[in-house]
Each structure stands twice: as structure tokens, then as C-alpha cells.
Symmetry: D3
Subunit: 254 residues, 6 copies
């Protein structure tokens, strides 16, 4: 599944087949409250990518473990201890150069599977510039897909996972989704005994910089992980992976 464990010959054969799909998981190094590890985003996106690869025949690249700056409205803010981020230029350049390299060597499709909200637009720019570098325009056989795994959580799953109502992805940082998934996938990394119950962060319709620190709950989570469980995590994971795999099969003709 992992390209980094293949030999060059195996890689060459895989690419030479003409239908190679590489999945790039992306995350961040970011505080995730008192109960989740700093690497949560890349751990989750890599796990999802691996499972999707198993179902689709795609291969998985090593994850981007550094992401764009945590923003207060979506990640608590870049000022918090334990959050180490890239500026836009480094993230764009890294994505551009890796995607360009993959496509130039013949990989048919690169799927960027994002696990850190703030990355999206910079990964998009990296992909766009890679395509420009290679002169790939509409109609080209090669392509890049860019998505975030939580967009594949279905409505029925949401109802089960959030029985009191889904508060919205905007406050899902260190909340039920990430906690449940990690309880399912890497329970030894979750400290539910340190989890704190608190109301979600008050929503704002604007970004303010420098951030006003007290607007982030003391835990650093934008919503509490109340009710997160390994069972919910398994449901989330299984359903999301299945839908993502189906999307890739349909979209890329796998």
C-alpha cells in the first residue's frame, strides 16, 4: 500500500501500467486538546488513505505531517503551544513539486486526501501550479483530486455520531469525530480521562488577527469530545472509507 516500501522497480511497473493512482494524505502538527496527540490530522488521513487504497488498488504516499497555520475558527489558533505550521509558500511549493514529479513520471491520478482544514486552498494552488508546469489542461488524461475525508461522512452516520444534533464541521477540532476515529484506530494515543466537557466555541463570522486567545476554549478543542467512542469511530471510518473508495472508483474509473 505504501509507496515508500516499494522498490524502484515495483514503482516503475506500477506506473508503467498506465493507471497508477497515488494518494497523498495531508495533516498538520497541531494541538488537539488535552486528550489527542499533536499528529492527529496526519494519523487520521493516512489511515483513511490506506483503507481507501486497499479497496481501490491505489497506493499511498508518505503523509505531509506539517500543515498550514491553525486558524482560530477552525483549529483554535496558531499561537497555541504544540502547534507548528508552515507558511503558505512552503506548503504550496512542497505540494507542487511532489505532484509535478508524480505526474511527470507517469502516475495517472494523484488524490490529495486532506486531514487538516486549513490546508485546502494551499494544496489546491500547489496542484494547479503543478499542472501548469506540465501543461496539463482540461481534457488531459492525468489529474489531481483534492478532498477532505470528513466531507464523506454521510447524514445517517452523523445522526448516530451526534445524537443531539451535528454542531457543524467548523467546530470539529478535537471533538467527537477526531476522537472517535482515533479511539477506533489508535486507542493507545487517546486520553479520554483528560477530556473536558465544555460548550462549543462561540461562532464568529470573521477572522481576527492577532487572535483573541480567550475565544478559544481552554482545552484548545472547538467542541468537546463528549460521547466519542471506538464504536462511533468504527462506524465513521467504515462508512467514510467506503464512500471515498466508491467516489474514487467512479470518478477515476478504477
Amino acid at each position: 500500500m505504501r509507496l515508500a516500501t516499494m522498490t524502484a522497480r515495483e514503482y516503475e511497473d506500477w506506473v508503467g501500467g498506465g493507471s497508477a493512482v497515488a494518494i497523498l494524505p495531508t495533516g498538520a502538527f497541531e494541538q488537539h486538546g488535552p486528550h489527542l496527540p499533536l499528529g492527529t490530522d496526519a494519523i487520521l488521513s493516512t489511515a483513511v488513505a490506506t483503507a481507501v487504497a486497499e479497496q481501490t488498488g491505489a497506493k499511498v504516499l508518505e503523509p505531509f505531517t506539517l500543515g498550514y497555520k491553525s486558524q482560530q475558527r477552525s483549529g483554535g489558533g496558531n499561537h497555541l503551544p504544540g502547534t507548528l505550521s508552515l507558511d503558505a509558500d512552503a506548503l504550496i511549493a512542497q505540494a507542487r513539486q511532489l505532484i509535478r514529479g508524480l505526474l511527470a513520471q507517469g502516475v495517472r491520478h494523484v488524490v490529495v486526501l486532506n486531514g487538516h482544514y486549513e490546508n485546502t486552498q494551499f494544496l489546491y494552488e500547489g496542484a494547479d501550479l503543478a499542472l501548469r508546469d506540465l501543461g496539463l489542461a482540461p481534457g488531459a488524461e492525468q489529474s489531481v483530486m483534492l478532498l477532505s475525508y470528513w466531507d464523506y461522512v454521510s447524514a445517517p452516520t452523523l445522526e448516530v455520531v451526534y445524537p443531539d444534533g451535528f454542531p457543524g464541521w467548523d467546530v470539529e477540532h478535537g471533538g467527537v469525530l477526531e476522537t472517535a476515529l482515533l479511539l477506533h484506530l489508535r486507542p493507545e494515543l487517546v486520553h479520554m480521562d483528560r477530556a473536558v466537557s465544555h460548550p462549543p466555541a462561540a461562532p464568529h463570522r470573521f477572522d481576527r488577527l492577532p487572535v483573541v486567545p480567550e475565544r478559544t476554549p481552554e482545552t484548545g478543542c472547538l467542541s468537546a469530545p463528549d460521547g466519542a467512542s471506538a464504536e462511533k469511530g468504527e462506524l465513521l471510518f467504515t462508512q467514510t472509507v467506503a464512500d471515498l473508495a466508491a467516489e474514487l472508483r467512479t470518478e477515476l474509473g478504477l
Copy 2:
């Protein structure tokens, strides 16, 4: 209202007062369907900014009339004739340098009032780098606010403007909101006779690059402007401006 029409002395006096708030409207040069002009985004954000300034005592900068690349899911795509965009680096640099200059000269708060969805993250990066350049950290008296005007459209307004249900901001490109606002503000620029009714663009949970052109409706709009009227535009404008002005007053202590 417009800083560009003030003299240097007037500017100096304004800044010297210690509570100067400058609003930067941002837009794009982007196709907006058969009935709206290419400059729609900056025209609208500038009009909103000007009205907000009237109600708050803020001043308005000349708009950014070029924006980040139009994306297929939010603007139809950057491949369409009439869409001329900046790469991330130019937009970030321009925002960074202008914001840095304003704050360095003593402007208390810079409000970036965005009118083109795809700009947001790059304006954020520009603001963040400007603050880093100046060493402004949490607790500083100066600040940047970044917002998009449509986030201030209220639920009651949505009910009036979209009596059959609000389709979501994700397909609002050349649709009812922008059309109504422009019918109210600059009716001579709207060609309702060329407007085409069609179902909204099918939603996708991923970006694909290069774009698949046929996924953008032929009009270039992501939803049709059916039912847009100057009256709805007036309602949208009045309510949004009032709420935005109130937000600024509260947030910035005006």
C-alpha cells in the same frame, strides 16, 4: 469615505486620531454568467464597504480588483473566458504589503471585506505575514479583521430572498444574491434579459484539476438568478450592511 480622495494631510489627521479603521474591499475579475459583469465581486464588496463605512466612520481603500483563481466548485472554474486571476503569491504579497503599510503608519484596524470566495485563505496569509513583519502578537492594539459580506446575510433575509429554500453559498455564483444586489446598486450593469434559468450545478465533494468543463453549467453561473430583483437586493444590502456595521462597532469598539 474613499481614502484615495483624501489628501495626505487629511489622511495623517485621520490616522493620528488613533482610531482609524480602513476597509479593504476585495473582489475578482471573473465571469459571472451571461447577465452580470466581470467586475461583479469588487463592485459589490466596494459598495458594501462604502455603506458600512458611512455607518461606522471607517474609510474605504481602493478595492483589489483581481483575485485568486476561480475554482469550479465556487466560481465555475479558472478556464472560462473573462476570468483573469492571480496566483497565490501575488495576492498574498499585495495583501501583506498593503496591510503592513497601513498598520505601520498607525491605522488601528484594517478590515478586509471580501467579495470573492476563493480569496479568503490568501488574504488571511497576507494579513498573518504583515502582523509577523510588524511583531504584532495577541494583545496588540492594532488588528486585522477578515470577513466575507455574505456571511452577514441573516436567516430572515434568506427566507425572503430564497422563498423556495436557500441552496447554500457554495452554488451562489452569478445567482440570486449577486444579481439582486447588483440590480439594486448598479442596475445598468445587469442584463436580466440574458439570464438563463437552470438547475444549480451538481455538488461535488472534491476538486478535480484540470477541471472537467462540462461540470460547470453553460451559463457559468452555479445557480440561476431566478427571482432576483432590485427589491431583494435592497433588502440584502440594507440588512447585511447594518449587521456588518454593528459587528464592526462591537468588535472594534467604534
Copy 3:
């Protein structure tokens, strides 16, 4: 005249005709003495561009309202309140990307009509890099013209406008030319009652950085607007526009 007010279809038809000429006015946000507004440069270049477009069938882009740093010998200096400038990189990138986009979409000629002295070389670099990006070399049908409008003021006009002798463009900042033109075009923005008569700034054959502030006259003007009038402005405007239009017709075969 203004491309931003056209629809995408109108733009497409215009470009499709094969002889589309787009004029890009460029200016700055810069102190212009006690009597002229900060946006003078872009206001003037946009007015000239619009009039030239009327006479030639060209279309006008939204102006660049931010320019390169004001230099003491040509604009009084970048240290003065009210002057907000771009570094070279941002101005070059913005020009490069816009010009590249226009030519890539089929615009035949882009005319950069400059109204701020310090911009010239950076606009040139932007144009040069855009052509390199597109592989346009001598012999190509598409081109970029770069000019500053004051280079089209004729000798007879100078004699009328400066009856006591033309002091040279190097001290024309907030002086007779700009004042007269604005009196003709936007009299409500000119405060002749605040204008101060003083000798021109002493010439220097070198730039010194950091600037020596006292070398800029207290007004911020490099020469006084003594004798500026709307009539002179009309003469300047009419003659310059006519000669510029003639130049474009000849050079570009309009």
C-alpha cells in the same frame, strides 16, 4: 470602455475578434501635497486611458491603484504619511500574471499606461516575464506596450502650461501638470486654497537611502502648482490623449 462592466460573453466576443487591445492604467497611493488626493496617479491614468480607448476602440482594465515605492527624487519619498507602496516583487508578479492571462486568452495587445513614475521598470519586468511564460518572442503577433502619459505632452503644450519655462518631469509631483489635469477632470478633488507656492525641490544626481527628509519640500510636492488651471488641464488632457491615441493607432495598426 471598462472591461469590468462587460459580461463574459461580451469579453469573449471582443477577444475573439482578434484585434482586442486592453489598456491597463497604473498609479499609486501616494501623498500629492496639500491640495491633491492620494489616488491622483491612478485617477489620471485611468482618465487618460478611458479617453484614449474612446478614440481607438480599446477597452480599459481596472487600474493598479498601488504602485512601487515613492522615491525622494521623483515623488517626495516613501516615508511620507499617506504613501502606501508595494515592493518590487508584488508589483512585478501582479503585472506578470495579469498580462499573461490577457495574452493567453487572446487579447492582441496590452497597453500599460502608467501614471506613477516609479512603476516603470517593474511593469517592464512583469511584461517581460509574461512574454517569456508564453514563449512570445520577436515576430509574435501579440505584444505589450508600456508608456507613461506625460511623455506625450507636446512642446507647444508645455509652452502654454509652463509659460516661465518647463522645469522638467523630474520635479513634476503634485505640480502644475497633475493639478491642472485634475482641475479639469475632477475639480471637486482639488483644494487650490491649500496649495502652497514654493521653489522646486533642489535637484540631486543621486538617490540617498534612508532619505534625508528635509530635502523634500514641506508640502510634499516637488514643484508648486502655481498657475495650474482647469483650462490648462483641458489642453493637457486633450492634446495628450490625441497624441496617445494616434500613437496606438500607428503602432498597433488600429
Copy 4:
């Protein structure tokens, strides 16, 4: 050991102690002959880093899994399938921003433990720029150490590992060192049955670009892994880690 598995609070406590040492393993995605995986460099540097951390109390960052371009004299060349590299700018920016972030949050020392020869100078530049950003000059308490693990292989170890004489690090790419280490650490990733015996690549005193492909042995290895064994790997690993740990203790006063 792995910082990514710590919570923000644990990270904060660790940094707050005032003597936090973070080790950054760096590698590449690069062909390593028919018998070793593409991710060899980062796998090895991460394993060494982890063992050194165990002996010194340091913590380990997630590795850089992409490196600078493979060069023909040290890695076979960047033209080979399976080699995906970064340009200098992306590698420098990534190192600079991560190191700056760590030091700014209070990490006392950052040890960059390199596993891909070509990375060195670009990591150095990243570190140097990070220190400049933070104003850290000689005498500062915080520091960056940059080293490559093979420089800690001792002469006695070399004699055991290369009984016929050490050919030099310059042809160690996919050779005995890397093969033996991986046989010790991750035997399931090594395909000794595919290893090919061949003389080392002929040495050159110059780089030539574009590369002359036939100067790289067909295997992509610069020397054959003849005689590599898990036992040699264990010796290499144990000795190198011990000496590296001793170096860190001495140099950083751990």
C-alpha cells in the same frame, strides 16, 4: 519518543522544562536499487533518531520524507523512476519554518539528523535562516545541530563491515551500509534475492548535467550490497547510535 504522539500539554511541559531537544530525521523518496525500498533514507534516519532519543531523553519529530534531488555521484541521479525530489526552495523553506517554530516555542536544541546526502546544504540554509529570523547569534542558548548519521560509523566498525576495504561514502547508495541497516531494522523491506553484485560506479570529479544515464550502474546502486547482513546492520546501528548519543550528550550538555 515521537512528538506527534504527545498531547499539547505534554509538549508544553516538555518545552517548559528548558532543556528540550528535538531530533528531526530527514530522508528522501529515492530509488535504492532493486532490493531496497524507496523510503530507505527516512526509514533509517528515523530509526537512528529514535534510538538516539531513547539514550538521550530527546524527542523525535516526524521525518522529512522528501529530499533534495538525487545527484548522479551520490544517489544515481534524479532521472531515475521512483525518485521524487524537492527543489532547493521548498526544502529550505520547510526546514526554516519548522526549526523557527520549534525554537520560537522554546525548544532548546534542534538536531537535524540527515539520512540523504544531497539534503545537507539546504538543511543548513534552512537552519541559518531560521536563526536569522529569530535573531539568534553566537552566544545564544538555543542552537541547531546538523549531522548525517554515517559520519558516526567508526573505523573499527568499517573494518568489520567492509572487510575488503571501505570504498568511501561517496559510493554508498544502496550499498552495504544501507542494506545491512535495513536488514537489521526492517528485514521485511529488503529483497536480498534481487540484489545484484557489480563493481562500484566509476568515480568522477565533476557533476555533469543533464546526467549521462549510463554512468549510473543499471541497478541504481553506486556500489553493490555484497556481504550485507543483519548482523553487520546491528553492529552499525548499535555503534553509530551510541556514538551519536554520546556526541549529543557532550555537545548539548544532556
Copy 5:
């Protein structure tokens, strides 16, 4: 005179005196007609700098021998064989970093003595950014002066050198000034027998890109070197150097 021939200790003593002035000659690698060498600009600016240093006690840096792109109106154009130029970014970065280094080490004033017209604005930007890097603002004791040596040719000299009237610096490329100076300074590099008499290039008030090659005279000179002589060169050199030295003494208090 030449800093590059001093030892580190001598350099340190010189800087430590508190009044060190370093002159940086800048030029280009550019065609200069059939009779002058490609390195003309740096040869001349270095010779002038050395003579000025002799008269003022300043020291001379190694010249910048590559310059910004030759422009058709001032240098014939960048398309001509033998012209090898830098983009703006490289020239700006080089100037910025060298000037920053000199000032950071204690050099009191850096005089950039330019010999290639097109360099000016990019050297200015480099100097400006170096000052920003160091936080040097108006009132600082350290400074940068930027000038082009031909601006110090006096009116009486012009009358002697151009008895039929001075055609203007804009067409001085490979003309009388440069030819005479080189005849005086390095006669062995001048091929007067290959010089061609022709009328000056027709003036244009605009830049056009891509250039129209036939607008540059076939020689590549913008005006002919008719009448150039070593005697005129000596006059030009002696007078210019004297005036430049006087300017430095006055301006920098030497």
C-alpha cells in the same frame, strides 16, 4: 583600493574606524556595438569607482558584472547576441544581501556606482530592502548612495565632447561617451576600425515587447561613436571623477 585584495584584518581595521565608505561598481554583460567589448559597463564603472576612491579614501568592491535586461530604448534590447542579463529578482537579491552585509559589519556608507542604465531601479530596491532588514530609517548614521556616473558629466564637458550638440543620454549606448572613456582607459579593447557611423536610433516614447528588432540600428549602438577620442575620454573621465569625488566628500562628509 580594492577590498578584495585586503586581508580580513585590514578590512576589520578599516570598518572599525567608523567612516568606511565602500563603492560598488555595477555594470552588465551586454553587446556594445562592433567596436566595444561586452563588459564595457562594468569596466567603466569600476574605473570611475577606483579613481573616485583614490580621491576620497573610499574602497572599491568587486563589480557586479551582470545587470538587468538590456532594453531596446536604452541598450538595444535583450534579444541581441552577447547580451546576458539577470531577471529583477536575482539583481535585487544580490544587491540587498551585499549591502545588508556591509552595513551590518559596520561600513558607514555604501555608494552604488552604476554603469548600466537598466540597473537603477533594481539596485534601488535592493538597497531599500537592505535598509528595512536592518531597521535603518531616516536619521540613521549609515546610508546608501545610488548614482550613475554619466549624471556627473558637466555641461562644459558635454560641449567639448559633443560639438554638434548632445543627443541625450537615452541614445548613449556604444556611442561617444563610452567609446571615448574606453579609448582613454583601455584602448586595447576598442576597435575603432570596426566602428560604424550611422544616425542615432529613432526615439520612441514607449517600450514594446517583444521588441521590434529592426528598431535597433544594425550595429547595436543607439548612436554612433563618431568623433570619440582618447582625449575626449580623458576629459570625460577626469571631470566626472572629480565631480563625483566632490559630491561624495560633501554628501558623506569625507
Copy 6:
């Protein structure tokens, strides 16, 4: 020999012959102990390049007189007075643009002849990017060679020059090699009376930043020039030049 002294026509003829080889000497502005000048590296590489050119028919470009930062292990460190360096970006850009220009104009081979250890990887990156810009891939007729002259000092020469054993190139900074060469080539620039005998700098297997100043010998040399003589310099020069010329003839088919 020197391209800068040729006329454009001579350059054109040279390039037009189809087998033009240009040698680019590169150096630094760097302290070289109490007895050698700051410009040592470029003086030596230029002298070597010129002699090689004489023996091969190649031509010599003006040297890069500024180099990458002096590193403590190879040059004493960038903190020492008299050392003025470029960041990676400026050096890469300058090399890229010059090499691109030479190859684009038809020069067959560019030989970068380095005289400053720390430059190597950045010159490599510049060359690599130039080739990418031009689309030159393996098999192309044009090429870049990159080498450092000391790699051509032969074993027999080393035995003569270092009768007590060769300490290694890593401590050759201001030592016997450079001193002897300069005594041979430019004796007037060497101050043997100021040379200090001291043991070589203690070796380190790591870089530490910020540097620990006391690890550089007080002289700034990494080894003493004991025993350097003009005779040894002549031997070094003659042998190295001969072998380098032979290498170029063989490799480039001269």
C-alpha cells in the same frame, strides 16, 4: 580568453561555431586568515579557469565574486569580519539565469569552475533549474559541468606539497594550497610575514548554528600555511590545470 573583452560579433561567431565552451569561475568574499586577501577564492578559480581555457580553447566568464555563506567546518564561519556572503536564493538565481542565458544563445557547454567549497550545491541547483527552464534532458547536446579545482590535485602533487601528510581538504582554508597558489600567481597579495603557525582546527562531525566562535582558530585559517611556497604553488597550478584541461578535452570532446 575573457568573454567580457570580446565584442558582440566575436561572441556571436564563437557561439555560432557550435562548440563554444564557457568557463564560469566562482569564488567568495571571505576572510582567509591574516595573510591572504578576501578575494582569494575568485582570484584562484579565475586564474585556473584562464589557464585551462588557454589549453582547451574555452573562454572565461567574469567570476562570481560573492559566494554562499562561509561555514565553520569549511571556511571558519560566516560571523567573521570580512566575510560577506549570499543567501542560497541569490546564488541559485544568479547561476540559473546566467547558465540559462548562455545555453539559450547557443553555448555548447558551460563549465562552472568553483573555488569556494560552500558554493557547490547551490551552483548545482542553479544549473539544474536552468536545464529545466530550457527543457534539456539526458541526451541533449548541451551540458553543464560543475567541479572544484582542488579535486584535480593529484596524489603525487599532494605528497610534494604536504610532505608531512595531507590533512584533508576539509581543513584547507587559508592553508597551504591556497597560500602556495597565490604565492605563485599573485605574490604581492600574500603577507607571509603575518602568517601564523597553528595546529589545524579540531574536526567536528556536525555543524552547529549559531557557530561556537572559539572553534575557529584565531587566525581564521582552518590549517596553517606552514611550508607554502611559490614553487609548490607552481606545481599545484601546473598539474591541476593540466589535469583539468585533460578532463575537459575528454569529457566534452574538445
